[in-house]
């Protein structure tokens, strides 16, 4: 059953030409994507192929020029109003004046519900930050901050989790470790997830399915299932199957 469906979605923007005239250009689509309940989908593509536009459309931050975006049969704005969306960005997305615990409490405050007694503690341990409950973001490393941001995105058990380059600002070693951390966190509730990434390895390691977008206007060029069993390990990344799939997907990223 598709929980998330983009049907014939396009998005055009206006740009100014060299002569100062405004003209419309297509950034996206037409795009048709379906994501099933509990599925983890990674979206990769060259820079400027409209990945972030897809995410903004799903988060209800933008409207498609034509076509339909539906999550559980509802427009994203509806989910937003129901506090059923979770989102984590590349970096700088924690309130700097709040402690870890207080940042994790934010989604509950916004939804106007009391955080269940043990839920905050649960999220702290999900992020692996026991002992840092009262630390402020400036006192944490980049990886720790990112785990808080992901835990916060999961706080209200969202119907849809959106991850925009969640580890893009981290160094390679931390990034790899965070990939496994994310899988561990994700396996606890298996929320339907769409992750945008530049890294093919990261996509293959984490996702059930990888979508490759074409260059502008972004369309689905390839839709590959990732057959590996979970939880995945570092050993998987050394197998020939892993490399074959990653190489194939990388080849798809080359300009046609």
């Amino acid at each position: 059953m598709a929980i998330l469906a983009l049907t014939g979605v396009t998005r055009s923007f206006l740009r100014r030409t060299r002569t100062g005239r405004r003209e419309s250009f297509d950034a996206l689509g037409p795009l048709d994507v379906e994501i099933g309940d509990g599925e983890f989908v990674a979206l990769i593509g060259a820079s400027g192929c409209g990945k972030s536009t897809v995410l903004r459309l799903l988060a209800g931050l933008d409207e498609p020029t034509s076509g339909q975006v539906q999550i559980n049969g509802q427009p994203p704005r509806e989910l937003q109003a129901q506090h059923s969306l979770g989102i984590a960005f590349q970096e700088h997305a924690l309130l700097p004046w709040r402690t870890v615990e207080s940042n994790l409490r934010l989604p509950f405050e916004i939804a106007g519900v009391a955080a269940p007694a043990d839920r905050i503690g649960e999220l702290v341990s999900l992020a692996g930050l026991q002992g840092f409950e009262h630390a402020r973001p400036a006192e944490l490393s980049g990886g720790m901050r990112q785990r808080v941001a992901i835990a916060r995105a999961l706080a209200l058990r969202p119907k849809l989790l959106l991850l925009d380059e969640p580890f893009g600002a981290l160094d390679a070693v931390t990034r790899r470790r965070m990939n496994f951390e994310l899988e561990r966190i994700w396996l606890e509730g298996r929320p339907t997830t769409l992750m945008i990434t530049h890294s093919v390895d990261e996509a293959v390691l984490l996702a059930d399915r990888v979508l490759v977008l074409t260059e502008r206007p972004g369309r689905v060029r390839r839709d590959s299932a990732v057959p590996f069993a979970r939880p995945r390990s570092a050993a998987l990344m050394r197998t020939a199957e892993f490399h074959r799939l990653a190489d194939e997907l990388t080849a798809e990223l080359e300009p046609a």
Partner: protein, 252 residues
């Protein structure tokens, strides 16, 4: 150890400066209008003149406080309005710039006949404070990280929640910065306002002692004005620093 060393340097520098003042004043090197330090200090030791300074300081501080409070409240409130109602933004920005461009001194006579002699100092103190608080509040409210705005929107925050949980808090350091700069402007406004014929105040003492050639009293009054302004500035600098430490520049 180094701190005491630096303090020693500062104290020695001050001593040299004050000693120089005394010598130049006594010798009359800079003319009759430059009194010696001891002559100025004797003003503070003289009970009636000390009482005059205390009374006048109280009057001026009352005007400054009133104008400061009104200017801050109005400036911050109008900035909030501009922030929340985009269609009013352009107009209010222009209004604030206009208020700042007004030659405040030229307004004095008009204020005297409309607001009255007692309220003119407070009114003239309020004008620059309004502008500075409008600007700093606007900048502060706008300064919240766009990514945090997106996070809150995605979580389903209402306009009010975005304001109270993010923008208003992120604006605090900038508002304090505005308040810090506005303190000196309020004092200038109040003193100038008193020159238009207020019944009492430090500005009145400055004017009278100048016209009556009471040079040591004039200097003593100016020193009081400077001391009050600098202490306010110092206190607000500490407050601003504390706010910045607590809240951080809003991009963490």
């Amino acid at each position: 150890m180094r701190l005491t060393g630096r303090f020693l340097h500062l104290a020695m520098g001050c001593a040299v400066l004050l000693l120089g003042w005394e010598v130049i004043g006594r010798a009359g090197l800079l003319g009759k209008t430059f009194p010696s330090l001891s002559a100025v200090l004797r003003v503070y030791a003289d009970a009636p003149r000390w009482a005059l300074l205390v009374r006048s300081s109280a009057a001026t501080l009352a005007s400054v406080a009133a104008g400061y409070a009104v200017g801050i409240s109005l400036g911050a409130a109008v900035a909030l309005l501009a922030h929340l109602v985009p269609s009013l933004r352009g107009g209010l920005d222009r209004l604030a710039v206009l208020v700042n461009a007004l030659p405040v001194i030229a307004l004095g006579p008009v204020l005297i006949i409309t607001a009255g002699r007692e309220s003119t100092p407070a009114a003239l103190a309020a004008v620059p404070v309004f502008f500075l608080l409008y600007t700093s509040t606007r900048v502060g409210l706008r300064g919240a990280s766009p990514r945090l705005e997106l996070v809150l929107t995605t979580l389903g925050a209402s306009r009010r929640q975005r304001l109270t949980k993010l923008e208003a808090i992120a604006a605090v350091p900038s508002v304090f910065r505005g308040m810090k700069i506005a303190a000196s402007s309020a004092m200038i406004g109040a003193i100038v306002g008193e020159w238009f014929g207020a019944p009492s105040g430090l500005g009145v003492v400055v004017l009278n002692s100048m016209q009556n050639f009471q040079i040591p009293l004039l200097w003593a009054t100016v020193i009081v004005i400077a001391a009050i302004t600098l202490s306010a500035y110092g206190l607000l600098t500490l407050a601003e620093r504390a706010a910045r430490r607590r809240i951080g520049e809003c991009d963490g």
